[in-house]
C-alpha cells in the first residue's frame, strides 16, 4: 500500500514540476517552434492546373460493399502532417481510397492494421483472422507467398489477369499492363495468386561500397564476380575489412545464389529444364523447378551446382571473423569496410546517415562469368534498371474472406484500380522504396544513379539455385551453409545435406499442392 502511495506521490510531484515549468516559461509550442528564423514566404501553396484525372468506371450500383484491406508498408500513418517524429507520413492510400469511393459510392474501403514488427507476428495474426472469419479481403501475402497458397488462403487470379484491367486499356490484358510478366510468381499448379505492387530499383539486393577505399587502392567497380573477389582480396591485403554480409538467423543470406552466382552456370540445362518448350516466362507451367529437382537436373551431384557453391564460399571467405554473431555495421560507418552486402530498401537510410565521413555508392551484384568458371557463360549487359524476375511487394485476394462476404469481384476491381499507372505511381513513389510495377508509371529520380549502371541481362527462362523452395529447406540449407563456409562441415556432407533439403522441399510442395507429375 505504501509503495503505491509512494508512486502516486512521485507522479504528483512530477506533474506539479512540469506544470510550474510550463507556467513560468510561458511556453507555447508554436512560438518556440518557429524559432528566430521566420519563413521567407509562408503563404499557402498555390495549386495550379492539374492533369485530367483518369475516369473510373462505376461499379454496379445498389449493393453496398465494404472491402477490408491490409497493406503493411503502405498503411497510412496516424500522423497525417509531417513533423520531426513523423517526417514522412504515409497518406497516399487514404487519398486513393477517398478517390475510389467517390467514383464508386456503393463501395467502402476500410484499412485494417496488421502487426508489422515481424513476419511471424503477421502470420499469427492472419491465422487468427482467418479462423475467426474476419480476415481482410485484400492482404499482403508476406514474403512466404508459398505458405499462404499451401494453406489455401489465396484466390487464384489467372482468369482476371488474362482480361483487361477495368480501369485501364481495354485492348491490353491486366497482366500485360505490368512492366514484365516475371514479376508474377507462377505456382507449380500453373496459377497466379498475387499481384505485384512494387519492384526493386536495380536489384533488391546490392552492394554498398566505400569509394574512398576503392580510389585509394585504384580499384574499379567490379563488372564480374571474379573482379569483385579480386577487389576484395586487395582490400583485405591493404588491411581493410573486405566485406561484411547481412546475417539471417546467424547464417548467410544466400541472396547471390538466386541469380548472379547461379544462372550463368546453369544455362546448359535450360532445354532439359523447360520441358514444355515454353517461349517465355509467362508460358511456363510453373512446376519446372520441382520437376528439375526430382529428375536430377538441379542436383548437388552435378559439378555445375557444386561450382555455384564454391564461388559463393569464395565470397564468404572475405567476411571478417565473427560475422555471424557480431554487429559489423559500426565498422562500415567508421570507413573500415570496402564492401557491404545490403538491400535497396536501405538506400534512404544510408543517404541520411550524417555520422559517415567517406564517399560511398552502390553497384549491382556482378554476375559470374567465364573468368570465374569453365562452366559459366558471359551474360550480356545493358544499361538501365535490371529486369526484375520477382516483385518486392505483392497484394493478394484472401479467398476465405471474399467467399464468405461475396466480395470477390469488388476486391478484384479495387486491386485493378491500385495497379493503374497513375495510382501505382502515386502509391509506390510516396516514399522511395522501389519502382512501380505498372507500365507508364514514372520512377523516382532518386534511383537514377542506379539506372546509369550496367547490369547482366538474365534470360527469361533460367535456373537459379533456389534454396527458397520451402521455408524448411531454406532453414536447413542456411544452417549447413553457415557451418560449411566456416570450414566446420566437409564438402561431401554439406552437398548431401543440401540435396536432401531440396528433395524434401520438392516432395512437400508436390504433396501439399497436389501436383500432377504424370507428364514429367
Amino acid at each position: 500500500m505504501r509503495k503505491i502511495k509512494g508512486k502516486k506521490g512521485f507522479a504528483s510531484l512530477l506533474s506539479l514540476v512540469i506544470l510550474i515549468v510550463l507556467v513560468l516559461s510561458g511556453c507555447s509550442g508554436s512560438k518556440s517552434g518557429n524559432g528566430d528564423s521566420s519563413p521567407q514566404a509562408s503563404s499557402s501553396p498555390a495549386e495550379t492546373a492539374s492533369p485530367t484525372k483518369q475516369e473510373t468506371p462505376s461499379s454496379s450500383p445498389g449493393k453496398e460493399v465494404t472491402l477490408r484491406i491490409t497493406t503493411q508498408v503502405f498503411t497510412p500513418t496516424d500522423d497525417k502532417t509531417p513533423t520531426e517524429n513523423t517526417p514522412v507520413p504515409r497518406v497516399a492510400l487514404d487519398r486513393i481510397i477517398e478517390d475510389y469511393q467517390k467514383e464508386n459510392p456503393n463501395v467502402k474501403v476500410e484499412i485494417v492494421k496488421a502487426p508489422t514488427s515481424s513476419r511471424e507476428e503477421y502470420l499469427t495474426w492472419m491465422t487468427t483472422q482467418i479462423a475467426a472469419g474476419e480476415a481482410p479481403d485484400i492482404a499482403w501475402p508476406s514474403d512466404s507467398l508459398q505458405g499462404f497458397v499451401e494453406k489455401e488462403w489465396l484466390l487464384p487470379v489467372d482468369s482476371y489477369l488474362q482480361q483487361a484491367n477495368s480501369f485501364g486499356d481495354a485492348n491490353t490484358t491486366w497482366m500485360d499492363s505490368f512492366t514484365n510478366p516475371e514479376l508474377f510468381k507462377k505456382f507449380p499448379n500453373g496459377s497466379y495468386y498475387a499481384v505485384p505492387i512494387f519492384q526493386a530499383a536495380g536489384s533488391a539486393t546490392t552492394f554498398y561500397y566505400n569509394i574512398d577505399i576503392f580510389k585509394e587502392l585504384n580499384l574499379s567497380v567490379p563488372q564480374t564476380w571474379q573482379q569483385l573477389l579480386d577487389a576484395l582480396k586487395k582490400a583485405k591485403e591493404a588491411g581493410y575489412v573486405a566485406a561484411i554480409p547481412v546475417v539471417e538467423n546467424k547464417g548467410p543470406t544466400l541472396w547471390q545464389l538466386g541469380g548472379q552466382v547461379s544462372i550463368p552456370l546453369t544455362t546448359a540445362f535450360t532445354d532439359e529444364f523447360n520441358y514444355t518448350g515454353a517461349k517465355s516466362a509467362a508460358e511456363m507451367k510453373g512446376d519446372e523447378y520441382l520437376r528439375a529437382i526430382k529428375k536430377g537436373i538441379v542436383s548437388m551431384e552435378r559439378p555445375e551446382f557444386r561450382e555455384i557453391w564454391r564461388l559463393y564460399k569464395e565470397w564468404a571467405q572475405m567476411w571478417p571473423e565473427g560475422w555471424a554473431t557480431q554487429d559489423m555495421m559500426p565498422l562500415w560507418r567508421e570507413g573500415k569496410v570496402a564492401v557491404r552486402e545490403g538491400g535497396m530498401w536501405e538506400l534512404q537510410q544510408e543517404l541520411s546517415d550524417t555520422k559517415r565521413n567517406f564517399k560511398w555508392g552502390v553497384f549491382p551484384i556482378p554476375s559470374v562469368g567465364s573468368d570465374s568458371s569453365q562452366y559459366a557463360v558471359d551474360l550480356p549487359k545493358e544499361k538501365g534498371f535490371q529486369k526484375n524476375t520477382s516483385s518486392a511487394f505483392d497484394l493478394a485476394i484472401v479467398k476465405p474472406a471474399v467467399e464468405k462476404r461475396g466480395t470477390t469481384e469488388e476486391a478484384v476491381r479495387f486491386l485493378q484500380y491500385l495497379t493503374t499507372a497513375e495510382v501505382n505511381e502515386y502509391m509506390v513513389n510516396e516514399i522511395p522504396l522501389g519502382l512501380p510495377t505498372v507500365k507508364g508509371a514514372a520512377t523516382l529520380p532518386v534511383f537514377d544513379a542506379i539506372k546509369e549502371s550496367e547490369s547482366p541481362v538474365i534470360p527469361e527462362i533460367s535456373i537459379p539455385m533456389n534454396v527458397w523452395i520451402s521455408s524448411e529447406a531454406r532453414d536447413a540449407i542456411g544452417r549447413n551453409a553457415a557451418m560449411w563456409i566456416q570450414n566446420k562441415l566437409a564438402d561431401d556432407k554439406f552437398f548431401a545435406n543440401v540435396e536432401k533439403a531440396m528433395t524434401e522441399g520438392a516432395d512437400k510442395s508436390i504433396k501439399d499442392q497436389n501436383i500432377d507429375t504424370s507428364n514429367w
Partner: protein, 158 residues
Amino acid sequence: MKKKWIALLVIVLMAGVMTILWRIDDNRKIVFDVTFAPEQMVADGKSSVTVQIQVNNVDGTPRSGDELQIIRMKGHGQLSVSRVKTDRNGQASFAYFSYRASSFTPVMTNEIMLSDVSVGKIVGVYKRHVFEIPVIEPEVDDSDPSGNDDDGYISLGG
C-alpha cells in the same frame, strides 16, 4: 508540516532550474540562409533542385557539425536525404527531386522545413526554418540526369 514545506521548496527549485535551462536553450539564436538552384522546379519527374544551406550564429560565425533534419511539409517532391550535417563552414546541401504532375500529385509550391536538432536538445524544441520551392508545369520531356561521377563510380553519398 515541515516536510511539506521542504517538498514544496524542492519543487520550486527544480522548476526554477528547468525554466532557466529552457530560457537559455530557447534564446540561442541561429541564422539560416537558404539558396537553391534552379529557382523553380519543373514537375516532370526528372529534374532536381540543389539546395545550399548556411547556418550561422547571430555574430556571423558558422555553426559546424550541426545536424539538420529536413522535412517536406507540403508538395510531392522527394528529398535525397532526410538529414544533413553542416561542414566546418556551417554549410550543407542536398538535392530535392521533382515529381510527375498528376491528379494525385498536382503542380504546387513545395514547402521544406529545416530543423536544427543540434540546438534545443535540452527542451526538445528545435530551431526551424521553412522555405518554399516554386514548381512549374513541364514543357518538353528531354532531361536524363546521371548519377555517375567522372571515374565511373556510382556515387550516392558521402
